[in-house]
């Protein structure tokens, strides 16, 4: 009896304590989450001349805190020592994060009380848009003017980092970030198989379309595709769509331009071509069950004649066995994640010096040497044939001005919607018109403000 009494007494009391704690916490958290005070971009001191080592030295001994994508680490190992040698009072402290981790956390880090001075975001609404809207990143228009970024080979690559004042559209407006690294799409081909089939490397979608049945008839899988991640298919779709209509209109739609629509004849035609190619077996069986990385390894192992992909796939392919040809008609592609300067940074002068160094031909060469593509292509030289071809593809495509960015920049959920709907249209479960309508409905949810 006594035992039971005591237990219930204790239980009642501890219930009371827990209840009180919960009530207290509830009351404490009652105000609306979030804060109305972001960084204040209006406060920034614009520069009117190139930042010199003497300007940076005035800051005294400082540590420049940075957040970067893990993929940048090999490059950073080259750039950081050079930077610290040129600006001896600065110590660079970089925190590396995997790409997924970076884009999931960098916005909150930038909004925290002690944000990194310099960090990488990601183009599009989910990361860069949130950063610009909350006033967490410094405008770089003055930097671009002083250093002449808007002229020269890298100029066209700045667009995706430019935002309208209310962060509702991007592609033009105020510059908020800069990426020194380019990405370009083209057609990778298996050199030996192309020779056996007696084909030349295709440079347009039409030429590719002519080669596909020949490859199939010879018992080869024409295009290696791994679409279980739902994005590789949209890249091929973008190449076809860009050859069916003006790529500029696609870029506008991606940037969220008012009144833009995805329900165009070109997009419907591109979707029906994708469905037709899938139906004829040009992508082989089971592309929806194959991951993109697995598809690249298979292509590298000699499966498939063509691989429609980007420079980011090139690292897996050897220059003896594979080549790359340009698709100047356009398609997805742009730059890697841009670098931003925190609007709260007290060391923005040093941060500007950092961005300037990233945007130099010397670093451009280091970027190429570490297996990526620089935005500054003047004065860099390739060391193997495939790298040379990829660089040519980049120059051709940038000269043509037909890169449209990436579809998933357009809304935060576009990758899922469009990737999934494209799988359905390729499997013949929905019509091309239903596909374009589904995609446009998702776009309108974000961009058509009532």
């Amino acid at each position: 009896m006594t035992t039971r009494h005591r237990t219930s007494f204790t239980a009642r009391k501890s219930t009371f304590v827990i209840g009180a704690v919960i009530a207290g916490l509830t009351l404490a958290g009652c105000s609306a989450p979030g804060s109305s005070t972001g960084g204040d971009a209006a406060d920034q001191t614009d520069i009117d001349a190139v930042v010199t080592a003497a300007d940076v030295a005035k800051l005294g001994d400082i540590t420049l805190k940075m957040w970067a994508d893990q993929a940048e680490e090999p490059l950073m190992k080259e750039v950081v020592p050079a930077f610290e040698a040129e600006y001896p009072n600065v110590t660079v402290d970089i925190t590396y994060k995997s790409f997924d981790d970076l884009i999931a956390t960098v916005v909150n880090a930038a909004a925290s009380a002690s944000p990194p001075d310099v960090f990488q975001g990601n183009i599009g609404y989910a990361v860069d848009g949130a950063l610009v809207e909350a006033g967490l990143v410094r405008s770089l228009d003055d930097v671009s003017d002083v250093y002449g970024w808007s002229t020269g080979t890298g100029a066209s690559t700045l667009g995706p980092a430019m935002w309208s004042d209310d962060a509702s559209t991007f592609g033009s407006g105020t510059l908020y970030g800069m990426s020194p690294i380019s990405e370009v799409q083209g057609i990778y081909y298996n050199t030996e198989k192309l020779d056996e089939l007696g084909l030349d490397a295709p440079t347009t979608i039409d030429e590719l379309a002519e080669d596909l049945p020949i490859a199939l008839a010879a018992g080869e899988q024409p295009i290696m595709l791994g679409n279980s991640d739902q994005y590789a298919g949209t890249h091929i779709f973008s190449d076809i769509a860009a050859s069916e209509q003006d790529p500029a209109s696609i870029a506008e739609w991606i940037g969220g331009a008012e009144g833009a629509t995805f329900e165009t004849d070109g997009n419907a035609e591109a979707a029906s071509i994708m469905a037709d190619w899938a139906d004829k077996g040009y992508f082989g069986d089971g592309y929806d069950g194959l991951g993109n990385q697995d598809a690249i390894s298979r292509f590298a192992d000699g499966d498939g004649v063509f691989f429609v992909g980007g420079s980011w796939n090139g690292a897996s392919l050897t220059s003896e066995d594979f080549g790359m040809s340009s698709l100047v008609s356009g398609g997805v592609g742009a730059t890697a994640s841009p670098w931003h300067i925190s609007s709260k940074s007290e060391n923005s002068v040093a941060a500007i010096a950092w961005l300037d160094m990233l945007h130099s031909p010397e670093v451009g060469q280091q970027i190429l040497d570490t297996g990526r593509l620089p935005v500054i292509t003047d004065g860099v030289t390739a060391t193997d044939p495939l790298q040379e071809q990829t660089l040519t593809v980049l120059k051709d495509t940038i000269a043509a001005g037909t890169q449209v960015g990436y579809y998933d920049w357009s809304t935060t959920d576009m990758l899922t919607t469009m990737g999934g709907a494209l799988q359905e249209v390729m499997a013949g479960r929905i019509t091309p018109e239903e596909f374009t309508a589904t995609v446009q409905a998702t776009w309108a949810d974000t961009h058509d403000t009532p």
Binding site: P33, E133, T412, G420, R429
Partner: protein, 315 residues
């Protein structure tokens, strides 16, 4: 002498009224941890679910809008239907297979029983990412599963299991069954050990076969274990995310979407924290409801059965 009385009073107070407080001190560290990392986040989630919040700028209250969206969104309803299909694979099938294996293992003396038990439990220990990657390989168009089908002349059945609109959901279900049956089996084996062997002897004397033994003795005695197994597997089924994210990402099309996939997308991709919180809250309530129903269904008649072995022991 004068010290005697207050000391006595103090000790009496300690046993009568102060006891509960001194007891609380022992759980304060754990309680604090629990409150900060479990209770507080739950409260914040519930609160956030009534706001339109991007995680940065000031949130605006939207009343029940987020909840209305949860119940009116067609995509979410489809996802919930997928979850119900997965319940069969993640909860019903593992419990049945677990019962079958446990029943067999308890009857037949097997050499290296511990080894088999450990091997069959292995899927439960593996990281779900490892499981997902392994099964992606097994179920690929040129994977071993299709290889076996081709070898036995069933090549017509082979397909890209995870990439086919009709087979993707059941395929993910089978992976879940494979992960969960080991847990069920181990739970049931532990339960069978506590059953009084004399019950089996009595049944055998009465002429009961193995099947009758299983249904008359083993199954009723395992009621509490079955209840626990169902609670664990149903929870796993309804909040399942990692397996699907790492195999199909909800595709092809939307054929394998589940509610937790939308929680992730809303919270981390769309920065719609209010919407994500509302969905998470609804999901939690649904899981709690299902668990309560399972417990109620399995408890009542269960208690009568549990009493039998207890009486046995007191005698």
């Amino acid at each position: 002498m004068t010290l005697g009385r207050p000391a006595a009073r103090f000790s009496r107070r300690a046993t009568l009224t102060g006891y509960s407080w001194s007891g609380l001190i022992y759980i304060v560290p754990a309680l604090l941890f629990f409150v900060v990392f479990v209770i507080y986040p739950i409260i914040v989630s519930v609160q956030t679910s009534f706001y339109d919040y991007d995680g940065l700028t000031l949130a605006t209250p939207v009343g029940l809008d987020n909840y209305i969206n949860v119940f009116t969104d067609d995509d979410l309803r489809a996802a919930l239907a997928h979850s119900l299909v997965l319940l069969v694979f993640y909860a019903a099938l593992p419990v049945c297979i677990g019962l079958l294996l446990a029943g067999a293992m308890s009857r037949i003396r097997i050499y290296g029983l511990t080894l088999f038990r450990a091997l069959l439990f292995l899927p439960q220990i593996l990281s779900s990412v490892v499981v997902a990657v392994a099964w992606r390989g097994l179920l690929a168009s040129d994977g071993p599963v299709n290889g076996v089908l081709n070898a036995v002349g069933l090549g017509a059945l082979s397909t890209t299991w995870l990439g086919n609109f009709d087979t993707a959901l059941p395929s993910i279900g089978v992976i879940g069954t494979w992960v969960e049956y080991g847990l069920c089996m181990v739970l049931f084996l532990a339960g069978i050990v506590t059953i009084d062997r004399s019950l089996y002897e009595a049944a055998r004397l009465d002429g009961a076969g193995p099947v009758r033994e299983f249904f008359s003795i083993t199954l009723p005695a395992l009621r509490p274990q079955i209840s626990i197994a169902l609670i664990l597997t149903i929870t796993f089924a309804l909040r399942n995310f990692d397996l699907i994210w790492n195999t199909t990402r909800g595709g092809p099309g939307t054929s394998t979407t589940v509610p937790s996939l939308f929680v992730y997308q809303d919270a981390f991709q769309n920065r719609a924290l209010g919407q994500a919180s509302a969905l998470a809250v609804v999901l939690t309530v649904v899981i709690l409801l299902v668990v309560v129903i399972v417990q109620l269904l399995l408890r009542e008649r269960g208690e009568a059965k549990i009493r039998t072995p207890r009486k046995e022991r007191t005698r």
